[in-house]
């Protein structure tokens, strides 16, 4: 039954134009970054490696698809949450706005089944959006710029990964990004269960993310104690897959924190929805 409901929810989501905004945004932005890199990428790379070049001779194709995909993931991963909320915030509240809760809940299905199928739909959308980002950035990047070693500049060092040691890192990084985006999806889904208008959960989720990102970025004592509790602090830890050696403790801790957020938010959503009086 859940599979049937999921298929129906999936169909409903992909029949709405707003669903395609995220795919369109990624489909336009990423090729624009590719174009910019094609025109100006070498200058950027030279600027980043200017100090390194004084001591080392850098050879090979450093302006390659991997490096550009890494840059894109850095830049765009921050903005993907906003695209996720457009769909996830509408999953439950959209039914209230449209008055279709009445159609759904008067059918012989449980509210838990409704919540589960809708959450799976939100998760699938988040995963597909990241997959789309991966395809557009990595595949087009490799086709246009080819492969090569990946140059990663961290605060304390520069790491150069051999081209045979990169692809699995991207796969895990995209997988981690899906987990991070699922937290965002769960948050928007949670807000969506509270209200009867989809605009509210979309704006509230965006506001929470912006506030958390700002708090995470400002390095002052008063905020420092909050940071371990902010999910935004862990979402960008996909970068840990581009470290050598891997900091497994940090990765596992991040996965547990993000997974915990999903479980708590989803449980809260289910409890609220189970008890909700449908008055729309």
């Amino acid at each position: 039954m859940i599979y049937n409901l999921f298929k129906i929810e999936f169909l409903k989501v992909f029949k709405k134009w707003r669903t395609y905004i995220g795919f369109l945004a990624v489909g336009v932005l990423v090729p624009l970054v590719h174009l910019a890199m094609y025109l100006e990428g070498q200058n950027s790379l030279d600027f980043i490696t200017r100090d390194l070049r004084q001591s080392f001779l850098l050879v090979g194709n450093l302006l390659n698809g991997y490096w550009i995909s890494y840059i894109i993931l850095n830049v765009i991963a921050v903005h993907i949450p906003f695209l996720i909320t457009l769909v996830a915030g509408d999953l439950l509240a959209g039914e209230a706005t449209a008055g279709t809760y009445r159609l759904l809940i008067t059918r012989p299905i449980s509210r838990m089944q409704i919540v589960t199928s809708k959450f799976l739909t939100g998760f699938s959308y988040s995963a597909l959006l990241i997959l789309w980002l991966a395809i557009v950035s990595l595949v087009i990047g490799i086709l246009v710029f080819g492969t090569g070693e990946l140059l990663v500049v961290r605060s304390e060092m520069i790491i150069i990964f051999d081209k045979s040691d990169i692809f699995w890192r991207f796969l895990l990084a995209y997988g981690f990004a899906i987990l991070g985006m699922t937290v965002v999806c769960s948050l928007a889904f949670f807000f969506s269960s509270l209200v009867e208008n989809a605009i509210g959960p979309i704006i509230t989720t965006m506001a929470v993310i912006i506030i958390f990102i700002i708090i995470s970025a400002i390095d002052v004592e008063i905020f420092r104690s909050f940071k371990p509790y902010l999910f935004t602090n862990y979402i960008l830890n996909w970068k840990e897959f581009f470290n050598d050696p891997l900091d497994m403790n940090k990765i596992i801790n991040s996965v547990l924190v993000l997974g915990g957020h999903i479980i708590v938010l989803l449980t809260a959503t289910a409890i609220i929805f189970q008890k909700k009086d449908i008055l729309s």
Partner: protein, 307 residues
């Protein structure tokens, strides 16, 4: 003696929204095969009761039994046998009528054949527009689609919340005829909430009038309408002569109004024949006796008394 099954039994039902009492210790029974009229002024608690019946909202106390089983404990099982329109008909506007019905059948866990969907669309006059997105439909068309979705899985109990709202007179008659057909030919039980009192009068067997969330009166429509006093107009050949015959009699005090050839009395049901006989025996030609006791009058009387 065969016992009649209670399809719906509401026992001491209460629902509050913060300090507002929407349903106050409500009790009612709907019998199998009934077309049951559910009446009440605005804000009486009709929609809240219907939402409780289809588990859109939960009661604060009391019980709802449908098909003899507790709705709270057997919700899913019960809803497989119930079709409903709750308030205005809303659908997935970005999908066609056909797709909406297909999706709803799958959600119900019943694979309804396409032929059944087309049969229903034809029944409600939407077959020609089955491909059109619902957002292009008028309110009346959505109302018809609402009826189609309520009948989709061939339910035994059909709960209709003002099903003729937004329809033209022709459409209203079609829906009324459909309700009568479903009741008489297919033995469906219909729970019909309506603001159109003449509609209830025409098609309901039993009814309840509620106000402020409480049952004011419940029973057979005909019996309720025939109980108590009613207005009866006698069309006579000579009004002045009739007046003089009645002068000094107790009938005279019961005259309500007089026109050119008519006298209207307020009478008990049993008095109509007696008065008619009295007039005829005194040489008055009575060409017509017109009792007037509409549900509208009854409704207004009952609800104003309750207020």
């Amino acid at each position: 003696m065969a016992t009649v099954e209670n399809v719906i039994e509401i026992i001491n039902l209460n629902k509050r929204f913060k300090e507002i009492v929407a349903v106050d210790n409500l009790n009612l029974k709907v019998l199998r095969g009934d077309v049951f009229g559910f009446l009440g002024p605005n804000g009486a608690g009709k929609s809240t009761t219907i939402r409780l019946l289809v588990s859109l909202i939960a009661p604060n106390s009391g019980a709802i039994n449908i098909f003899g089983e507790s709705l709270k404990e057997n919700r899913k099982k019960i809803l497989t046998r119930v079709g409903a329109i709750v308030e205005k008909p809303d659908f997935y506007n970005y999908l066609s009528a056909y797709k909406n019905l297909k999706i709803l059948s799958k959600i119900s866990g019943i694979e309804v054949k396409s032929s059944r969907i087309f049969e229903l669309l034809e029944l409600v006059g939407l077959k020609e527009r089955y491909k059109s997105k619902v957002k292009t439909y008028s309110h009346g068309m959505k109302q018809r689609l609402g009826i189609a979705q309520a009948l989709l899985h061939d339910p035994e109990l059909i709960i209709l919340d003002e099903p003729t709202t937004g329809l033209d007179p022709f459409g209203m008659k079609e829906i009324r005829d459909l309700i009568i057909k479903l009741s008489k030919e297919e033995n469906k039980t219909i729970f019909l909430s309506s603001h159109i009192l003449s509609e209830i009068e025409m098609i309901a067997d039993r009814m309840v009038i509620i106000n402020k969330g409480k049952t004011i009166v419940e029973g057979e429509v005909k019996e309720l309408l025939n109980s108590g006093t009613l207005k009866v107009t006698f069309e006579v050949d000579n009004v002045d002569k009739t007046k003089s015959i009645l002068d000094g009699k107790s009938w005279y005090k019961k005259i309500d109004s007089i026109s050119e050839d008519k006298l209207t009395f307020t009478l008990e049901q049993n008095d109509i024949g007696t008065l008619n006989k009295y007039l005829v025996e005194n040489g008055i030609t009575v060409s017509a006796v017109m009792p007037k006791r509409s549900l509208e009058e009854y409704f207004l009387k009952i609800t104003s008394e309750a207020n």
